[in-house]
C-alpha cells in the first residue's frame, strides 16, 4: 500500500468507452447516502451513484464535471473509477439540448408513461442539465 502523497488516478468510464482519465486531487460524487468526497489514500469503497453531476478536480487545476445516470464508484489503491452506462462530460453537453430532452422526458412521464425506461430517461436528462449548469456557472 502506498502511503506517500501520490495523486488519485481517476477513470470515468461509460459503456461506449473511456470518457476521461487522469490524475486528480479529489473526486466528489453523489451516492445513495449523500455526497461523498474522495481524496488520496481513501479506504477501498464501492458505492452506488444516483443520477447527478460528479466533479473531478484534476492535478492540473482543472475541474471536470461529469453527468452520471447512476452506476457506481469504486475506490481501491488510489484508483478511482466512476462507472456509468451513459456518462458524459459536462462541457460536451449542450445545455439547451439537455433541457429540451428533459422537458420531453418529463412530458412523457406526466402523460402517464411511468415505465422504467421513461424514468431512466428523466434521470439521465436531469443529471445532464445539472452537470451542464454546474460547469457553466463556475467557469
Amino acid at each position: 500500500m502506498a502511503f506517500d502523497s501520490s495523486p488519485l488516478h481517476v477513470e470515468v468510464v461509460s459503456a461506449d468507452g473511456l470518457i476521461w482519465q487522469g490524475d486528480a486531487l479529489s473526486v466528489v460524487a453523489r451516492t445513495m447516502e449523500g455526497d461523498i468526497g474522495i481524496m488520496a489514500n481513501h479506504e477501498p469503497l464501492l458505492a452506488i451513484l444516483v443520477p447527478s453531476a460528479a466533479e473531478v478536480l484534476s492535478t492540473e487545476g482543472t475541474r471536470e464535471v461529469v453527468a452520471v445516470d447512476g452506476g457506481f464508484l469504486s475506490v481501491a489503491d488510489n484508483r478511482v473509477s466512476l462507472l456509468s452506462s451513459y456518462a458524459r462530460l459536462a462541457h460536451e453537453i449542450s445545455l439547451p439540448e439537455a433541457e429540451r430532452e428533459l422537458a420531453a422526458a418529463q412530458k412523457a412521464l406526466e402523460g402517464g408513461d411511468a415505465s422504467t425506461e421513461t424514468m431512466q430517461h428523466v434521470h439521465r436528462a436531469s443529471a445532464q442539465v445539472r452537470a451542464a449548469k454546474r460547469a457553466a456557472e463556475k467557469h
Binding site: S14, A15, D16, L45, I48, G71, L83
Partner: protein
C-alpha cells in the same frame, strides 16, 4: 456464331456489373469492421471495471443474489441467438444458427424446454419459415449495435429470468454469439448468461498485496442489486459488439471471394468471346476465299 458472341459479351457485362457491387460492399465492410473493432475495444474498460467490482464484491461480501443462484432443477431455458439482419455475410448467420440448434438439442436431451430469443432478421426469418415459436425478437442494429439495444435485451432477459416458472419464467439463459478471433476466424459460441458465475477475484489483486477491506455504500446487498443488472447488460453488450465485428469481417471475406470469382469469370468469358470472334473472322475469310476461287474457276472455263 454471331449470336453466341453477343451472348458472351452480355454475360461478361453483367458479371462486371455484379463485380462492381461486390467490390464496393467489400470496401464498405472493410471500413466498417475497423470501426466495429474500435467500438468493441472502447467498451473494454467498462467491462474490465465492472468485472473488477463484481469480483471485489464476491471476495469481500457473501454473494447471494437471485441472478447468481442456480435453479435446483432446470425445466425451461432461454436461448438468445444473435445473427445478422442482412445476407451477403458468407456463412456467418447459418453458423450461428447451427450452433444454436446444437445447443437446443443438447438442452432438450436433458429434458429442458427451450424458448428462443432472436436478434437479427436472419434468425427471425429462419424461425418464421419453419414456424418455430419466438419469444422475443429484436432487429435493425446487427452491424452497429448501441448500448441502449443491449440494455433493452438484457432487461427483457432479466425480467423473464426473475419470473417464476409457473408464469412462463426461465431457469437458465444461454446466448449464442460469434466471437471475433481475428479478421480471418470468427467462431460461433454458446455461453451461459444467467445465472451468472461469479468468480471471486483472487488473481485480480496482486498476490504480494494484502487484500484491503472494502466499504460498501449503502450496504453490500444494495450494491449487488445494482451491479448484477449492469453486469448482465455489459455481457449482452459484449456479445452484440463481438457479433457485429464478426459479421462485418465475415462480410468482407465473403465479398472478397465473390469479387475474385467474378474476376476469374470475366477472364474466362473474355477468352471465350475472343475465340468466338476469331472463329467468326476465320469463317468469313474462308467464305471469301472459297467464293473468290469459285469465281476464278467459273471465269477460267
Amino acid at each position: 456464331m454471331a449470336s453466341s458472341l453477343r451472348e458472351l459479351r452480355q454475360r461478361r457485362k453483367s458479371v462486371s456489373a455484379t463485380m462492381k457491387i461486390t467490390k464496393a460492399m467489400e470496401l464498405i465492410a472493410a471500413s466498417k469492421v475497423i470501426r466495429a473493432r474500435q467500438t468493441a475495444q472502447r467498451a473494454l474498460p467498462y467491462t474490465r471495471e465492472l468485472n473488477r467490482a463484481v469480483s471485489a464484491l464476491a471476495t469481500h461480501a457473501s454473494v447471494d443474489h437471485p441472478l447468481t443462484t442456480p435453479a435446483t432443477t432446470v425445466r425451461r431455458a432461454a436461448l438468445l441467438i444473435i445473427t445478422s439482419d442482412r445476407g451477403m455475410n458468407g456463412a456467418y448467420s447459418s453458423n450461428a444458427i447451427k450452433t444454436a440448434a446444437r445447443m437446443r438439442t443438447r438442452l432438450e436431451e436433458q429434458g429442458v424446454e427451450v424458448k428462443r430469443y432472436a436478434v437479427g432478421r436472419k434468425i427471425i426469418n429462419y424461425c418464421n419459415f419453419r414456424q418455430l415459436p419466438l419469444e422475443r425478437t429484436w432487429e435493425g442494429f446487427s452491424d452497429a449495435p448501441t448500448y441502449a439495444d443491449a440494455h433493452e435485451i438484457a432487461d427483457a432477459l432479466i425480467a423473464d429470468f426473475l419470473k417464476p416458472y409457473e408464469e412462463g419464467g426461465v431457469d437458465e439463459i444461454h446466448a449464442v454469439y460469434t466471437r471475433m478471433e481475428s479478421m480471418l476466424t470468427q467462431v460461433p459460441r454458446a455461453r451461459r448468461l444467467l445465472p451468472l458465475e461469479v468468480i471471486a477475484g483472487t488473481t485480480a489483486t496482486g498476490a504480494h498485496e494484502v487484500i484491503p477491506q472494502y466499504e460498501f455504500e449503502p450496504d453490500p446487498e444494495t450494491v449487488l442489486d445494482e451491479l448484477m443488472p449492469l453486469y448482465v447488460r455489459s455481457r449482452v453488450w459484449f456479445y452484440l459488439l463481438q457479433s457485429a465485428a464478426s459479421q462485418l469481417a465475415s462480410q468482407q471475406r465473403a465479398m472478397k471471394s465473390a469479387t475474385d470469382n467474378a474476376n476469374q469469370l470475366i477472364e474466362t468469358l473474355t477468352r471465350e468471346a475472343n475465340q468466338a470472334r476469331q472463329a467468326e473472322i476465320t469463317q468469313e475469310i474462308t467464305e471469301i476465299v472459297g467464293g473468290a476461287s469459285a469465281l476464278a474457276e467459273a471465269s477460267a472455263d
